[in-house]
Symmetry: C2
Subunit: 141 residues, 2 copies
């Protein structure tokens, strides 16, 4: 079964209605192997039809995140991207200079995560974490 179909079925089984708009949005985000932002999803769909509103794209992406089928990653500086749950968890290192996004091993934060829970009783959602800084290229320049 294609991943799209799994998402659609999950939505349906949770009582959500399956509309052509939702199908196209799910398809766009699932076929995109990597991260994607709302505008890119909208652009992909526009190639096929103009009958989907940008507000619907935002609403559907929110729904997918809410249902745990996708992740919203806030890169800071107003940049927000989405990825399906197929896309493994990792830390996003965002270069403040060139905008490049590096992926780092999420294991690096497991000790930090445990301490937040024990010292502050805070359950950190580290799927959503992104770290601003300078990449190696921009450090040398």
């Amino acid at each position: 079964m294609s991943p799209c179909q799994t998402y659609i079925d999950t939505l349906r089984s949770h009582g959500y209605r399956i509309t052509p708009q939702r199908e196209m949005i799910v398809e766009a985000i699932a076929h995109q192997g990597d991260h994607i932002n709302a505008d890119e999803v909208f652009a992909i769909i526009q190639e096929r039809t103009h009958s989907v509103n940008i507000a619907t794209v935002y609403r559907t992406l929110d729904l997918l995140v809410e249902q745990g089928l996708a992740t919203r990653i806030d890169l800071g500086e107003g940049r927000v991207i989405y990825a399906t749950d197929q896309h493994g968890t990792h830390i996003h290192l965002v270069c403040r200079q060139c905008g490049q996004v590096l992926d780092a091993d999420p294991e690096l934060l497991s000790a930090f995560n445990r301490q937040l829970q024990s010292d502050y009783r805070f359950a950190a959602d580290l799927q959503h974490i992104s770290v601003l800084g300078l990449c190696s290229d921009c450090q040398t320049n």
Copy 2:
């Protein structure tokens, strides 16, 4: 010397012109011990005069950050706050449910920071970090 005056002098010595608008914005952010957002700065100034534009507030806050006199903290979900450099560094734990912001010891991330530099050659700017999750109250509810 008051902290405001230090900021003003630093700006002047870097060749920036000192306008009444800038003085009022610096005063607002410096007298506010804690974090503050652009709207709150604007509101404080509006109590005194209506002759400062919100665009100027944003521009001046950006300038202060650029000059290293203040920090912009992106809490995610569109929430951005500012603090002067007097406000010590710490990690911001943002509750996804109730919106509360807890401050955590920045030391918790020093090992992580070293590893980012050695493994990925990435110079993380941990002054800007904020972590989304659930506070203890919202976990029990």
